[in-house]
Symmetry: C2
């Protein structure tokens, strides 16, 4: 009886429910999205019951998913008290940004030495797409291409560990970076800085690229921090 009922649930409760062998991965992605989108606010508890019903899976794969999200740093699990969405202070986010900048400066140096001409051409192509999105005022598209350009620097560095950590840690704070985009003031300036970044990369000037990137990210963070602190003060999620 219980088995039949269980499988019926997984078949009807959620139309996009996961197949066998993918349930916990499905839950990880779903909860991650809920956190990034703000549907699950920071500090909120994540009751197993609610999520299982929402996703149409049972508690076992859900609990595996929560463990994964805990390692990823998106939730915190307390014994006998379950999971809660991690609450980050402005200082916490700044620390992550600072570390990511360090990673990217390392990647930049390596990229200038190791990138193939094709990889640099790809970065340039992305840059033009981004400039186009800027001219059209397509904010979301601009944001996404922007992310891709910075990732391309890591690709150019030919170091899988760098890229992996960059992606994982970026995910932790993606939500906060996006916020700053509502502040359009910095937009033209950011595009201009990207010109310089591209130039330095094309000329494979590692030292110059480092400094340009450092300034670019630091300016970006200052703008983001301004928006964030106005919005929430020190109490972020």
């Amino acid at each position: 009886m219980q088995i039949v009922e269980g499988q019926a649930t997984s078949g009807e409760a959620a139309p996009d429910a996961a197949q066998r062998g993918q349930r916990s991965a499905f839950a990880v992605q779903a909860i991650r999205d809920m956190i990034v989108s703000g549907e699950l606010p920071a500090g909120e508890r994540v009751p197993e019951r609610v999520i299982t019903e929402r996703l149409g899976i049972s508690r076992t794969p859900l609990r595996e998913a929560l463990k994964v999200l805990e390692v990823e740093g998106l939730v915190q699990i307390s014994p006998n008290r379950g999971a809660m969405v991690v609450k980050l202070s402005l200082g916490d986010v700044e620390a992550v940004i600072e570390m990511l900048i360090g990673l990217e400066l390392s990647a930049a140096e390596l990229a200038c030495v190791r990138a193939s001409d094709e990889e640099i051409a790809r970065a340039e192509e992305l840059h033009h797409e981004m400039a186009s999105a800027y001219r059209r005022g397509a904010l979301i598209e601009y944001f996404n291409i922007n992310q891709q350009i910075h990732e391309q620097i890591f690709v150019c560095a030919h170091n899988a560990a760098l890229l992996r950590v960059y992606r994982a840690e970026s995910a932790r704070i993606r939500r906060f970076r996006f916020v700053s985009n509502r502040e359009a003031t910095r937009w033209p300036r950011a595009v201009q800085e990207h010109e310089q970044i591209l130039d330095a990369l094309k000329q494979r000037e590692g030292a110059i690229l480092r400094e340009v990137l450092r300034a670019h990210h630091w300016n970006g963070w200052k703008a983001t921090a301004k928006v964030l602190s106005e919005e929430w003060g020190e109490e972020l999620g």
Copy 2:
């Protein structure tokens, strides 16, 4: 019936079995140790049955532990085929080392600006303990204090994200770093390099500290890589 038997198992099968609420954490640590110690060789499958019996826990917390270890990068899980200890090539390890060096150079710059005098004094104290271990020929102790000194640089940087990532990524390759210690050739030289590191830190000379650290780690990696490639060729774990 089943419950009584289950709890009896957790009480007697493993004398150091975990308490309620700690079983998966216990399993994570136990399996991590088995991997680091080489008891579970790279490429080996990790059958749930065997581990549960060994640790005296049931499959549920074990599977949670394996998910955690997968995110940590120590095992790989394939659907319907279970977990296997990740096999790293010499190139994979080198990529991680390269990234860790980048992180430490970032931390070093920050440390020179932000460290308190007490924190630097702590680094110096560790340095003297390490030198003492060297003179006594206490290899293991030397290795551990060495790790602590490098961690202290991250502590001095006052950036929790940097320290967290450094610890997590170091854990992935701890096994390989340790190997190089059997090669005692580099020992006196390494101690000497540590003198320079300490000096640069005490004088808060970020640029110098960067270059000294870069050389130190690069030399260390060359020695390690030599041992590793002699031992396993390109087929590491």
